[in-house]
C-alpha cells in the first residue's frame, strides 16, 4: 500500500529544487501565458503561471454549506482563465473527507489539491498524505506578516511547511437586536466587557428573556470555552503539546463562567445541538458566540435584525478561537511535475482572489486582501476580522483532533450538569494525556 521509495527527505529535496526554479522564472513572468515549446518535464514549473501541456486537477474539499457555491465560482473562473489547466471540484462532508482522502491517497486515487482544516494538517503530514509546500511559499516569497504569524505558523509541521492558508474562520459575537431591545438594551451597543455582559444578561432576565444560551456541543460550546480559556490567560496544552493544561485554573474559570449562565437563569438547561443559533434566529435568544460561517445563514433571514462584533473580553486579555482552511497537495503514486506545478498555480490564484471567498463568509488569510477596501466593505466579515492578531489555533501536533475529543466531552458533561466543571475537565485532561502519550509513540514526535 505504501510506496516504499517515497521518503520525506527526497520529496523535500525535490520540492526545494523546484522551488528555486519557480522563483527564478516567476521573477521574469508577469504577462499572459507564453507558449513554451518542448514543454513536458522541461517546462519550468512556475508558481504564477503554468505553461506545460494540458493537465486535469482533482480538487477535493468539504465546502458543503453556503461556502460551496463561492468556491465553485472561483474554480470556474480559474478554468476559463487557464485553458491548459482543468480543475474539477469534488465536495464531501468534512467528516467523510478526512476518512476518504487518506484512503484514496493510499490506493493511488487521491486528489491533486485539497483543503484541510489547520488542525488536520500535521496529522496528515505525519501520515504522509500531503506533500511539503515549502517551494511554493519560497517562490511566492510569502512571509508570516503577509498572513499574520499565528495563521502562517499553523501550517508548519516539523519545521516544514505543508499548507498555505486560504482563510481564517474565527468565532464572533452574534446578537439579535430585536431581542436586545425587548430586554432593555441598546441594540447598537453589544457588551464588550464582562461587567457589561453580566449587566445585559441581568437586564434581559428581568424582562423574562434567557438571553445567552450555552450549548454543550462542540459547535460552538467548546469553541467558546477555548476562547474564554485563552482570555483567562490559560492554554490548552504545554509548549510541546505533550501535556493537557485545559483543566488548570483558567479552564475551570472559563467553564464555570459558562455553567453559571445556566445556574443564574440566563440560559435554559439541556440546549441541543444548534438550538442556540436557531433560538437566536427565532427571536428567543439574544447572544451567541458562533463561527463566522454563520453570517450567510443569518443573512438568509430577511426580517432578522442582527449584528456581529468581536468577542467581548471576559478575562484578562483578548483572545478568540479560530480555525483555518488551508491548501494542501496530496501525495501521488507516480509523481507528475506538471500536475504539481499546475496545482501550485491554482493555489496561488485562488489565494489572490480570496476576496471572492470572503464574500462566502470567511476572513481571507492574505493580509493584503484583508486590509483592502473591498474586504473592509463587508461589514460583518471585517468586524470579525479585526480579531486577527489575537486568534488562537490548535498546536500542529499529529493526532491533536483525537485529543480534543476528550475536551469536547468534558464541556458536554459540565454544561449538561452531569459533572462539576473542575471534575469534568480533570477527567478529560487525564484521558487527553494518555492519548498524547499514545500519539507521541505512534507518530514518533
Amino acid at each position: 500500500m505504501i510506496d516504499k521509495n517515497f521518503s520525506r527527505r527526497g520529496v523535500l529535496g525535490l520540492g526545494l529544487g523546484a522551488g528555486g526554479a519557480v522563483f527564478l522564472s516567476a521573477c521574469g513572468d508577469s504577462g499572459p501565458n507564453e507558449k513554451v515549446t518542448g514543454g513536458g518535464q522541461n517546462a519550468a514549473p512556475a508558481a504564477t503561471s503554468y505553461t506545460g501541456p494540458n493537465v486535469a486537477l482533482a480538487f477535493w474539499n468539504g465546502f458543503t454549506g453556503g461556502d460551496g457555491p463561492f468556491m465553485k465560482k472561483l474554480v470556474d473562473q480559474f478554468n476559463t482563465e487557464h485553458p491548459n489547466i482543468k480543475v474539477s471540484m469534488n465536495t464531501y462532508q468534512w467528516a467523510d473527507y478526512y476518512q476518504k482522502t487518506p484512503a484514496a491517497v493510499a490506493t493511488g486515487n487521491g486528489p491533486d489539491v485539497g483543503i484541510m482544516h489547520v488542525d488536520h494538517v500535521s496529522t496528515n503530514a505525519a501520515r504522509g498524505v500531503i506533500l511539503p509546500l515549502e517551494d511554493l511559499a519560497k517562490a511566492l516569497d510569502f512571509k508570516a506578516e503577509d498572513f499574520s504569524p499565528p495563521v502562517w505558523n499553523a501550517g508548519v509541521y516539523n519545521n516544514t511547511r505543508y499548507a498555505i492558508p486560504l482563510d481564517v474562520h474565527p468565532l464572533g459575537f452574534f446578537y439579535n437586536k430585536t431581542v436586545m431591545e425587548k430586554g432593555g438594551l441598546d441594540p447598537e451597543k453589544p457588551p464588550t466587557t464582562d461587567d457589561e455582559y453580566q449587566a445585559a444578561l441581568e437586564s434581559m432576565k428581568a424582562k423574562g428573556i434567557q438571553g445567552d444560551w450555552v450549548t454543550p456541543f462542540e459547535f460552538t460550546g467548546s469553541m467558546q470555552f477555548q476562547s474564554l480559556l485563552w482570555q483567562f490567560g490559560g492554554n490548552l496544552f504545554d509548549d510541546q503539546a505533550s501535556k493537557a493544561l485545559f483543566a488548570e485554573d483558567p479552564g475551570v474559570k472559563a467553564l464555570t463562567w459558562m455553567t453559571d449562565h445556566i445556574k443564574n437563569g440566563y440560559s435554559p438547561k439541556n440546549v441541543a445541538q444548534d438550538a442556540d443559533i436557531i433560538a437566536l434566529r427565532n427571536g428567543k435568544n439574544a447572544f451567541n458566540w458562533n463561527g463566522i460561517w454563520t453570517i450567510n445563514t443569518l443573512k438568509e433571514d430577511k426580517n432578522l435584525e442582527w449584528g456581529v462584533a468581536p468577542l467581548p473580553q471576559i478575562g484578562s486579555q483578548k483572545a478568540a478561537w479560530a480555525g483555518s482552511h488551508q491548501f494542501v497537495q496530496f501525495k501521488q503514486k507516480a509523481k507528475d511535475d506538471n500536475k504539481l506545478a499546475a496545482g501550485k498555480v491554482f493555489i496561488n490564484w485562488i489565494s489572490q482572489h480570496s476576496i471572492e471567498w470572503a464574500r462566502g463568509g470567511q476572513v481571507p488569510a492574505r493580509a493584503e486582501i484583508r486590509n483592502g477596501a473591498e474586504f473592509k466593505a463587508l461589514p460583518e466579515q471585517s468586524a470579525i476580522g479585526t480579531q486577527i492578531d489575537y486568534l488562537h489555533f490548535l498546536p500542529p501536533k499529529p493526532g491533536i483532533a483525537d485529543v480534543m475529543a476528550t475536551m469536547v466531552t468534558a464541556i458536554n458533561e459540565a454544561v449538561l450538569g452531569r459533572k462539576e466543571p473542575a471534575k469534568a475537565l480533570s477527567d478529560g485532561a487525564a484521558k487527553a494525556n494518555q492519548l498524547l502519550e499514545q500519539n507521541a509513540k505512534k507518530y514518533g514526535s
Binding site: I2, Q99, V105, R127, V271, A272, E413, Q434, Q438
Partner: protein, 317 residues
Amino acid sequence: MAAETALTRTPPAQADEAHAGGRVRRNGPLTPYLFLLPYFVVFATFVLAPAVYGLWISLHDWDYLLPGKPFVGLDNYQALFDSSSAVYSFFWESMSATGIFTLLSVPLLLVVPLMLALLLNRKFKGRTIFRAIYFAPYVLGVAVIGVLWRFLLDPNLGVVNAILGAVGLPGDTPWTTALPWGWVTLVGVTVWWTLGFNAVIYLAGLQDIPRELYEAARIDGGGKWAEFRHVTLPGLRPVLLFVTVNTILVSANMFGQSYLITQGAPGTETRTAIMYIAQVGLSDYKMGSAAAMSYLLTAALLLISLLVFRLFREKDS
C-alpha cells in the same frame, strides 16, 4: 425461510421435468461443491479474508498509512481489560450503551410488530393501506429519520415539547440531551422506524400457518388465547427465531440514531460500541485497537446468538 417454503411448495410435476431434462451427471461427487463454489468465493473474498486480516490487524499498532506497524501481540486486547488504559472506560461505556439499547429495544421490536401483524392479518377494509403506512418509515434512511427526530425532539425548540406543553404536560423534557430520556428517544425512534420490517416477516409467517389448524382448535373449543398459544406461536417458531436473532444483531449494531440524534450525549453515555469503534479506527486511525474491540463485540454477539438458538431448540424437544 422464504426459500425453504418455496422449495417445499414446488409442484411435483415441475420437479419431474427437471429430472427428465437433465443430461448432466447429477450424482458426481464434485457437483454439490461446484454449485457451492460461486457463493463460497464471494464469502471467502468479502467475509472470511477480511475477518482473518482483521484479526491480524488487531495484533498490531496499525495505521495503514504509516510505514511502521509494530506487532504488539495481545496488547490491544489487554488494554480493553486494563482499567488504567486510555480505551478501557470509553470502550466499556460504549458496550454498556449498546447493551442498554439492545435490552430495551429488542423486546419491543419482537412484541409490537407481532401484535401489529396479528391485526394486519385480519380481513378488514383498507388493510393494504395500513400495511403500507406501518412499513413506510422503514423505507427512509437513517439520516432522514435522525435529522427529523432531532429537530422534532429538540428540548427547547422542538414540536414535541411544544405540543406537550400546550396540553398541560411538562414541556421541557430533555429528550436528546439527558438520561434516561435519551434512551427513550433512541428506542422509541428505532421502534417506530423499524417495526414495519419485523411486522412484514411475521405477516409472511402467519400466512404460512395452515388454516385447518385454526379450525381444529375452534372445534376443540379453544378460545382466541388458546389459538394464539397453541397454533400461532408454534407455527411462527422458525420465523420467531429469525426475527429474534436478526433484531438482536441489528440493535447491537446501532450507530446512526445515536450519532445523529444524541451525538453520544450527555458526555459519551449514549455512544454505542460501533460508534466508538468507528471513531477509534476511522477518525483516530488506531485500526489495531478498533479491530480488537470489534472482535470482542463479535464474540459477545456470537455467544448471544448461540444462546438464542439453544433457547429455541430446547423448546422444540
